[in-house]
Subunit: 300 residues, 2 copies
């Protein structure tokens, strides 16, 4: 069996211990994870002399893809109501604290947290991953509440929340934890924090522009384009958001050119910035912009 | 003579050593500085037991108003071309490095920098003030270049630059330097940096919304409302920017409620957030929104 298949099997198997987990979560996690690892592979190989962490270490890859699958599953738990609200609250509590879930049906949470704690190259990344998880869950909850009409957000507030709900910080932190990318130290640099905000905003804008038609046909309002059009019907929102995306991308390139972040951060940020053209558009399920791929799931 | 008049006289007198300096720069500095000091006076009195710095110390007040007057003068040097480009470059270089200006006619720069260096409660604030000055000058230059059509900014880029060009960080840093507000330590906190970004964006949006008519009649394009309207003629820009202002203000209040910053930061941030209603609208010259006040100067 190829490594790719073996890894996917291990993510699927682990996912069975999470109520509401779907094969799609594992498949998209493996696809997304592979996209990222492929782009930073040469750079990760260079740093492995320092860290002793092999880019092709199967244990590390499985842990990475499981964390990505967890993020997809949490997203759908919020948007699609895969589990009951009290279950979700218990899951969030457990994941954010690194403790076993108090309710049955979510044993995978503790399994994943224990393995990440054990695999952490730098223990600070593990503590930060718990914080990032709390922030991600809070942002998903806020976005869901907003979409349900409980709040009326400005564009600024939507984007601020969308920076957390896109979960790029979580992805980077998990990579850093597993392959020793020293993110805990980098996070103390204002320039790195600016890069994190910019690439996350770029991810949010790409995601919303790409998913606009799908979200609209699903009456989903948790999308910058739909939110702006609802508030300002005469506004050319797609043009505005494309300009915003281009602006954020120019600012990102400027900071990246001025600062010198250690490997593999350059290729990693580049890979994330290119996700719209190189990853979304090849998605078979989650990121199809037409409705054909949504046949086996409720659109989110 | 009242202290207010004595202080203003000392700012005016100092300003005579800066080519292009106008009485208005001193008058507006004294008015703005007084507005800020009045709002934080009780809180500054409380901290004076720790710092030994009297809120009514005339030497400190003069230095503060001079720095504010310098910021107004630099703004007009860019917008109104008060001095030649090579003079401005030399001034920026001198102010950003804390060194005497190489060209004659700007002796006030070195006088002010020397007095601030000597008065600094925490030397780190002085180093940071030089950095903030460099950032402010770069933002003014970029805004001027953009207004001249050299670049086509997105709203995100405009606001990012506008956060620096509003110079609130400079104002806070100067206050901290003079009255020991420990800003150098606070700047290492991500929450404080978020507050700085939010209050600066609020200041920029308030400034642009307030000055919209004046800027439009002066064909000034360095204004969010004018930039957006040029790019998206059908967009309800004032409604959008008012919503953005309200959104940033809600986010600011949320961080301020969650974090506990030491005195006098709470009243100080509140005073800055209220500047549109409590300060701009009483301006006799610089911030008049009609054109009557602009009679004695080119509008900026």
């Amino acid at each position: 069996m190829m490594q790719t298949e073996r890894v996917l099997q291990q993510v699927l198997e682990w996912g069975r211990s999470l109520t509401g987990f779907a094969d799609e979560h594992a498949v998209e996690a493996a696809r997304g994870g592979q996209y990222i690892l492929r782009h930073i592979h040469p750079s990760l190989s260079d740093t492995s002399a320092r860290t002793g962490r092999d880019p092709q270490d199967e244990t590390l890859i499985v842990a990475f893809y499981r964390e990505l699958a967890l993020l997809f599953w949490l997203d759908d738990c919020n948007d699609l109501g895969l589990i009951a609200p009290e279950q979700l609250a218990a899951v969030e509590q457990a994941l954010g604290q690194g403790e076993p879930c108090l309710l049955p049906g979510f044993e995978g949470c503790a399994v994943l947290r224990a393995s990440l704690a054990a695999l952490a190259y730098d223990r600070r990344d593990y503590a930060q991953l718990l914080d990032d998880t709390q922030r991600y869950c809070a942002a998903l909850r806020a976005a869901h509440a907003h979409a349900a009409g409980a709040e009326r957000w400005s564009y600024a507030e939507y984007l601020h929340n969308g920076i957390d709900s896109i979960a790029y910080a979580n992805v980077f932190c998990c990579l850093s934890l597993l392959w020793g990318l020293d993110m805990a130290t980098l996070r103390t640099s204002p320039a790195f924090c600016q890069v994190l905000r910019l690439i996350s905003a770029i991810g949010r804008l790409q995601n919303d522009l790409h998913g606009r038609d799908k979200d609209r046909s699903a009456s989903e309002t948790d999308n910058a384009a739909i939110l702006l059009l609802q508030r300002y019907p005469a506004m050319p929102v797609v043009e505005f958001l494309n300009d915003e995306l281009a602006g954020h991308t120019r600012m990102l390139h400027q900071v990246m050119a001025e600062e010198r972040f250690p490997a593999p951060w350059g290729p990693l940020i580049d890979a994330m910035a290119a996700i719209r053209t190189q990853y979304y558009q090849t998605s078979a399920i989650r990121y199809r912009s037409d409705s054909a791929g949504a046949g086996n799931r409720t659109p989110a």
